[in-house]
């Protein structure tokens, strides 16, 4: 699979780039709703490693970094590499599907205490490590002249461990992709 992706990635575009801003690299900035409503943000980078002849379809490699705040529950930092497909109608309507596998570090959102020798003391907040994996699907609209694609994605992840088990988490992200 890796060899296949690498081979495709090294192949040049099937046709010269048009005048439109349609570069193979892009950055993305989005609102990230962890469990849909817990607010956060993501900064992403994408590389269209493989594109079809008319650039309607692409295999996209990328990653997102960001975080969220679940008030009085947790503060999470994320690093989420992804691989996905993007397809575009000639009108500009775009669809996508991605698989994510990454890391989440969860910090406590308020003061932390421990009791040592019967005395309450402030304790460090080193947080809890975890793994996230799952999928997102999304839609967007590509504006070729400016190279912008507003998009919305919904996703479902497995988070491990929560306590010591796997839990399902949902996500909603709304943002914009800028071709560079």
């Amino acid at each position: 699979m890796l060899a296949f992706i690498t081979a495709l990635a090294l192949s040049p575009p099937a046709e010269p780039a048009p005048a439109a801003r349609e570069g193979r690299h892009s950055v993305e900035l989005s609102y990230f709703g962890y469990q849909l409503t817990r607010p956060g943000g993501l900064l992403g980078y994408s590389w269209r490693a493989v594109e079809s002849r008319r650039r309607r379809h692409a295999l996209v490699l990328g990653a997102d970094v960001g975080g969220f705040v679940w008030r009085h529950n947790s503060v999470g930092l994320l690093a989420l590499p992804r691989v996905g497909w993007r397809g575009r109608h000639r009108s500009g309507l775009q669809g996508e599907a991605n698989f994510h596998l990454g890391y989440q570090h969860t910090f406590l959102p308020s003061a932390n205490y421990e009791v040592v020798g019967g005395v309450a003391m402030k304790a460090a907040n080193s947080g809890y490590p975890g793994m996230l994996f799952g999928g997102t699907i999304g839609i967007g609209w590509f504006f070729p002249r400016v190279g912008l694609t507003p998009f919305a994605r919904v996703g479902a992840y497995g988070q491990f461990p929560v306590f010591d088990q796997l839990l399902a988490r949902l996500s909603l992200s709304v943002g914009i992709e800028v071709r560079i």
Partner: protein
């Protein structure tokens, strides 16, 4: 424009309806678990109810939305803490899921509360499994001296197989009654499944208290299997909608600090030293003012265990009482909110004149 919209959405989403101005929030971390503590209500009165939720492994999220608790919070502080492996707590090591560790956690909580609120006095209030944990905590006289009173709600202080068998018998009688009628194929299969569960899976010896309630069963534990059949037979609540309705569930899922998804995955936690243990014979060591509240129709922690608890307490007769809620099952705080508030308030005025 879009940025503004995103900011507005983020601001809206970050407001949790459970958390009021003046509330405080912190964690206690020990042995790989971080347990959140939410101190709400009138804690500046220096009279704080320390709330011990049920489960093991559920959450305080199911209580705070009710008028009964909100009215208590107008008068007193309430310290809701999520036990290890429960609700919105973080971290877990299975080897620490013992009654002794939960007792130690509760003691740590009182230590931290005493440090943060040095003028405050505390009353312990436990529901269901929290009733067992509360008593286990109070059996030690040093720990008992840290609180001014004790309120038990439908507690599992008697977790012997003899008591669990009452629920089993009740479910099986219900199953027999349903199957004697003309149930649909789906209903028949369900209640025949219950009969098979108690025949082939359930083990709780009323003579020895040997049991398998912590054993894995269909992705959870045998205890959960029993709980689900008791619930299906109507043994938890007279009217489940009074306990947690759709709007409250949505608030819990999408707006509150609580992690309902985690609760549904983890409860009941397999706590060692809980199942098969009846604490009642040791209650003579407890001399605190005590209020025991019980729903008449509770089949998971049967009402017949309430009077023996009251009788066994070392508390003088005029400082302990039992109140039965005739229109409630396991959750009188939700099914008869006014009466719950009035009884708890009356007791607390006696404790804190």
């Amino acid at each position: 424009m879009m940025t503004r919209a995103l900011l507005a959405l983020a601001l809206f989403a970050s407001c949790s309806p459970d958390f009021q101005d003046g509330d405080e929030h912190f964690y206690i971390t020990d042995k790989g678990a971080s347990m959140p503590v939410w101190v709400t209500g009138n804690w500046r009165s220096n009279k704080i109810i320390v709330h011990v939720h049920g489960g093991p492994g559920t959450t305080n999220g199911i209580y705070y939305q009710k008028d009964s608790y909100q009215r208590l919070a107008d008068d007193y502080g309430i310290a809701f803490y999520e036990q290890r492996g429960s609700g919105s707590a973080h971290g877990l090591r299975r080897e620490h899921l013992t009654v002794e560790q939960f007792v130690a956690d509760l003691d740590d909580l009182l230590t931290v509360l005493a440090a943060r609120y040095p003028e405050a006095e505390f009353v312990l209030m436990g529901h269901s499994w929290g009733g067992h944990l509360g008593y286990a905590y109070l059996l030690d006289p040093v720990r008992q001296a840290r609180v001014k009173g004790w309120i038990e709600q439908d507690g599992a202080h008697d977790s012997s197989c003899r008591t669990w068998q009452l629920g089993v018998d009740w479910v099986l009688a219900h199953a027999a009654e349903v199957l004697a009628g003309a149930p649909s194929r789906k209903t028949r299969r369900f209640w025949e499944g219950a009969q098979a569960f108690y025949r082939d899976v359930w083990e709780c010896d009323v003579a020895t208290n040997e049991n398998n309630m912590n054993a894995p069963y269909e992705g959870s534990t045998v205890h959960l299997g029993h709980s689900l059949y008791v619930r299906a037979a109507g043994g938890y609540d007279v009217d489940p909608e009074r306990v947690l309705d759709t709007a409250e569930t949505l608030e819990l899922l999408f707006e509150s600090q609580f992690d309902l998804v985690a609760v549904t995955k983890h409860a009941p936690l397999p706590v060692e030293g809980y199942y098969g243990v009846d604490l009642t014979p040791r209650f003579g060591a407890i001399t605190l003012p005590t209020l025991i509240l019980w729903g008449r129709h509770d089949r998971i922690t049967p009402v017949v265990t309430a009077q023996p608890a009251l009788d066994a307490l070392g508390t003088p007769a005029d400082r302990k009482r039992l109140v039965i809620f005739e229109d409630s099952g396991h959750n009188p705080w939700a099914e008869e909110e006014d009466k719950f508030y009035e009884e708890v308030s009356r007791f607390l005025v006696e404790v804190w004149p």
